[in-house]
C-alpha cells in the first residue's frame, strides 16, 4: 500500500512539479501573474472534473476520461507553445504558463483524487496511505526544488539549457497524448522501436523521473517517438530566443 501510494504520487505529481520548476526558472519574477492563474484554474478544473467523473467516464463509450486526458495533454503543449510565442508580453506569457501547469494538473490531480478518495475511500483511514502520500509529496517536492536549482545554475552557464528542458517537458505531453490515443485504439501504434527495460526500468526511481521529464517509455512505439520529436523540435525552434529571468 505504502509503495503503491508513493509511486502513485510520484507518477502524478512529478510531471507537474518539474514543469512548474522549469517555468519558474524562466518566468522568474512574474510569480504574481503565474501563481493566481495556476491555483485558480487548478482548483476550478479539479472540482469540475471531480463533480462530473461518472459522466466523463461514460462519455465516448466509456473512454471519456482518456479523451479528457488527451485533450489536457494537448492543451498543455499548446499553452506552453503560446507562452513561449508571447514571451515579448511577459504578463500574458506568465499567465499562459500558469494555465499550462494547471491543465497538466487536471490530469494528474484527477488521477490522485480517484486514487485517494474513490479507490481508497478515505485518505486518513489508512496510516500506510497517509504515510505514502507524505513520502511521495516530500520526494516530489524535493526533486522539484533540486531540479529548479540545477536549472538555475546550468541555465546561467548555458543559455540553451532552459530551452532544452522546456522543449523536453512540452514534447513529453505530446508523447503522453499519443500513448493514450494508441491505448484507446484511436491511433495505430506502429512498430515497437526498442526495449530498454533492461537498461532503465519504468518502475524504478530514475524511470519515474525520466517519465515525468520526457515521457520515458521502455518500449516506445513509432508514433509516440514521431510525436515526441516533432513537438520537441517545434518548441525548441519557437523558444530559441528565450532568456532566463535574472
Amino acid at each position: 500500500m505504502l509503495i503503491n501510494t508513493v509511486v502513485m504520487f510520484l507518477q502524478e505529481l512529478l510531471p507537474a512539479l518539474l514543469l512548474l520548476s522549469t517555468l519558474l526558472v524562466w518566468q522568474g519574477s512574474r510569480l504574481k501573474f503565474l501563481l493566481p492563474v495556476l491555483l485558480g484554474a487548478t482548483v476550478f478544473g479539479l472540482l469540475l472534473i471531480a463533480s462530473q467523473f461518472s459522466r466523463i467516464s461514460d462519455f465516448a463509450s466509456g473512454s471519456g476520461l482518456e479523451l479528457l486526458y488527451i485533450c489536457c495533454y494537448l492543451l498543455t503543449f499548446i499553452l506552453l507553445l503560446l507562452s513561449v510565442a508571447f514571451a515579448g508580453q511577459p504578463h500574458w506569457s506568465a499567465r499562459l504558463a500558469g494555465l499550462a501547469v494547471a491543465s497538466l494538473l487536471w490530469v494528474n490531480g484527477s488521477n490522485l483524487v480517484l486514487f485517494l478518495f474513490v479507490y481508497q475511500q478515505n485518505l486518513f483511514a489508512s496510516p500506510a496511505l497517509l504515510l505514502g502520500a507524505a513520502l511521495g509529496l516530500g520526494i516530489g517536492l524535493s526533486v522539484a526544488v533540486l531540479w529548479y536549482q540545477l536549472q538555475l545554475e546550468l541555465a546561467g552557464r548555458w543559455r540553451m539549457f532552459l530551452q532544452l528542458c522546456l522543449s523536453l517537458l512540452a514534447a513529453r505531453q505530446i508523447s503522453m497524448a499519443v500513448m493514450l490515443l494508441v491505448q484507446t485504439d484511436w491511433l495505430a501504434s506502429g512498430p515497437q522501436l526498442w526495449n530498454s527495460e533492461w537498461l532503465l526500468s519504468e518502475e524504478s526511481e530514475y524511470g519515474h523521473f525520466f517519465n515525468a521529464l520526457l515521457g520515458y517509455e521502455a518500449t516506445p512505439g513509432l508514433m509516440q517517438l514521431v510525436g515526441f520529436v516533432a513537438a520537441f523540435l517545434l518548441l525548441l525552434w519557437q523558444s530559441r530566443r528565450l532568456e532566463v529571468e535574472k
Binding site: 496510516p127 516530500g138 524535493s142 536549482q149
Partner: protein, 471 residues
C-alpha cells in the same frame, strides 16, 4: 540567488527530505521482504512441528497464539487427518512448497510439505512407541496406511493479515522519519541563520552608518570566510576617511590661499583706478572695469565653491533648531535691500508673519540669499519680486516670484546642475554668476528633506520657485 539563507535552507531541506525519504522507502521494501521471509519460515516451522502428532485427532482446536489466523490441513491421500477450526473442510489445492492461493474468500500464502510414505511411517512408529498399549491396535492400522499413501501437511496464512502485521511493524520505524522532518527543517533554519548572523551583523553595521561615520566596522566574532571582506572594507573606510580629511583641508587651504591675494588684488585694482583717475590717465580700451569685473566674479566663484563644499551632505552637519522663517526672510530682504534699491525694484513679503520651523539657520539664510539674490539679479530695473510664506500641519511653503525673463521649462532640471547657466557664458542677462547658486539651494533643501519646484511666476513673465520644508 536572491537570498543566501533561503537558498541554503531550501536546498538543505530538499536534500535531507529526498535522501531520508528514499532511505525510508528502501528500508520499507527491505523490511517487508524480510518479514515475508520470516512469515514463510514460520509456516515451514509450523508444518514441521505438526508432523509428529498428525494422527491423533481428525479435527482439532484453532492454533493457539496465532494472530494471523493460520489454517492447517493434514491429509493422507484423500483422507483428512487434521484441520484447524478455521480451515475449510475440502482439500486446499496448492503445489508443494510456497504459493499463493484463494480460498475462504481471501488470498492466502500456503506452504505444502509432502512427506514420502516411508518417512511418514517411521515418524508414526517413533511417535507411537511412546504411547500406551491401549492404542496399539490403531497405530498398527495407521502404520499400514502410511506405508502406502504419502502425507501432505498444508499450512496457510492470510496474505492481508501478513501484510498488515508486517506493515504495522515496519511503518512504526518510518513514522519518525516523516514526523521529525518539520523539526529538522526548523533546526536547519536555525543553524543557517546562526551561521549567517556575522554577515547580517556586518550588513547592519554598514547600513546603519551615517554619511560622515567612517570608523572601522567592529564584529565580536569574525568567521574566516568574512575576515577578508571585513578587512578590505575597513581599509576602504580608512582610505575614504583620509581622503575626506584631505579634501576638507584642501578646500580650507585653497579658500585661504585664494581669498587673501584676491582681496589684495581687488584693493590694489581699486587704488590703481582711483590714482589713474586722479592723475588723469586715460583708459582708452576700457580694460580696467573688465578686469575689476573678472576679479569680482572670481571672488564670488570662490565663495560659492566654499559654500557648496560646506553644504555638501557628506560634510554638512545640520544644526536643527527652532527658528522663524518669516523673521529670517525679513532679515535677508533688509540685507539685500541696497541692491533692490539700486534697481528700483518692488519687493513684497506676503503670508504668515510667524513661521516656526526646525531648521539650520545658517543654511536657510544662505538659501534665501541665493534665491533672492538671483531674483534681484535677473529681474530688470523697476521689476517686482514677491515672497510668500504659507504653512500647514506638516509643511512650510516658501514661494518666490519675480517679473524677470523666467526660464524655459525645458531648462528646469538642468539649472540645478553645478556650473550650469542658462544660455552658457553668454547669459542674456549679462549678469556675472558662477552657476552654483541653485545647486547650493538644492543641497540645502535636500538636507532638510524638503522639495524644490520651478514654474512660471504669477507676473506677466518671470520664474516662480517653490520650496517646501517639513516642519
Amino acid at each position: 540567488m536572491s537570498s543566501i539563507r533561503r537558498y541554503l535552507v531550501t536546498m538543505l531541506i530538499a536534500m535531507l527530505t529526498l535522501t531520508s525519504f528514499m532511505a525510508a522507502l528502501h528500508s520499507y521494501r527491505e523490511s517487508i521482504s524480510r518479514a515475508d521471509q520470516l512469515f514463510d519460515d514460520d509456516l515451514q516451522m509450523l508444518a514441521a512441528s505438526l508432523l509428529p502428532s498428525f494422527t491423533k485427532v481428525a479435527t482439532g482446536p484453532e492454533l493457539a497464539d496465532d494472530k494471523l489466523g493460520s489454517v492447517v490441513q493434514i491429509w493422507r491421500g484423500n483422507t483428512l487427518l487434521y484441520r484447524s477450526a478455521n480451515a475449510p473442510a475440502q482439500k486446499i489445492q496448492a503445489p508443494e512448497g510456497y504459493s499463493e492461493q484463494n480460498f475462504s474468500g481471501q488470498r492466502w500464502r500456503t506452504y505444502l510439505q509432502l512427506v514420502p510414505a516411508a518417512l511418514s511411517a517411521q515418524s508414526v512408529q517413533s511417535t507411537d512407541r511412546m504411547q500406551s498399549t491401549d492404542s496399539m491396535q490403531s497405530t498398527d492400522a495407521a502404520t499400514t496406511a502410511a506405508q502406502t499413501v504419502p502425507l501432505s501437511v498444508l499450512v496457510a496464512q492470510p496474505l492481508k493479515q501478513r501484510q498488515q502485521l508486517a506493515e504495522e511493524v515496519v511503518l512504526a520505524s518510518i513514522y519518525p522519519v516523516v514526523l521529525s522532518l518539520p523539526l529538522q527543517a526548523l533546526l536547519i533554519w536555525l543553524a543557517v541563520s546562526k551561521g549567517l548572523s556575522p554577515l547580517l551583523k556586518f550588513a547592519e553595521q554598514l547600513s546603519g552608518k551615517k554619511a560622515d561615520d567612517l570608523t572601522p566596522v567592529q564584529l565580536s566574532q569574525v568567521p574566516a570566510e568574512l575576515s577578508q571582506v571585513l578587512g578590505t572594507t575597513n581599509q576602504l573606510l580608512a582610505k575614504l576617511s583620509d581622503a575626506f580629511a584631505r579634501e576638507k583641508r584642501f578646500a580650507s587651504d585653497v579658500a585661504h590661499e585664494l581669498r587673501t591675494p584676491l582681496s589684495v588684488l581687488q584693493v590694489n585694482l581699486h587704488n590703481a583706478i582711483s590714482q589713474w583717475q586722479q592723475a588723469g590717465v586715460a583708459d582708452p580700451q576700457g580694460l580696467m572695469p573688465a578686469l575689476q569685473d573678472g576679479v569680482q566674479r572670481m571672488s564670488q566663484l570662490i565663495e560659492q565653491i566654499m559654500l557648496l563644499n560646506r553644504t555638501n551632505p557628506e560634510h554638512f552637519k545640520a544644526k536643527l533648531q527652532h527658528m522663524d522663517l518669516a523673521a529670517l526672510c525679513r532679515e535677508v530682504i533688509a540685507e539685500l535691500y541696497p541692491q533692490i534699491l539700486q534697481k528700483n525694484q518692488q519687493v513684497e513679503l506676503c503670508g504668515a508673519s510667524y513661521v516656526p520651523l526646525m531648521a539650520d539657520t545658517f543654511a536657510l539664510r544662505l538659501m534665501l540669499v541665493n534665491l533672492l539674490g538671483n531674483a534681484i539679479k535677473y529681474t530688470p530695473a523697476d521689476g517686482e519680486i514677491k515672497l510668500t510664506l504659507a504653512t500647514d500641519d506638516r509643511l512650510v511653503r516658501l514661494t518666490l516670484e519675480d517679473s524677470g525673463p523666467g526660464i524655459d521649462p525645458k531648462e528646469y532640471q538642468r539649472v540645478f546642475d553645478r556650473f550650469y547657466r542658462v544660455g552658457g557664458d553668454r547669459h542674456q542677462s549679462g549678469q556675472p554668476g558662477s552657476g552654483l547658486g541653485l545647486a547650493i539651494v538644492k543641497e540645502i533643501v535636500a538636507l532638510h528633506a524638503g522639495s524644490l519646484t520651478l514654474g512660471p511666476s504669477g507676473f506677466a513673465s518671470g520664474l516662480k520657485i517653490t520650496v517646501e520644508l517639513p516642519q
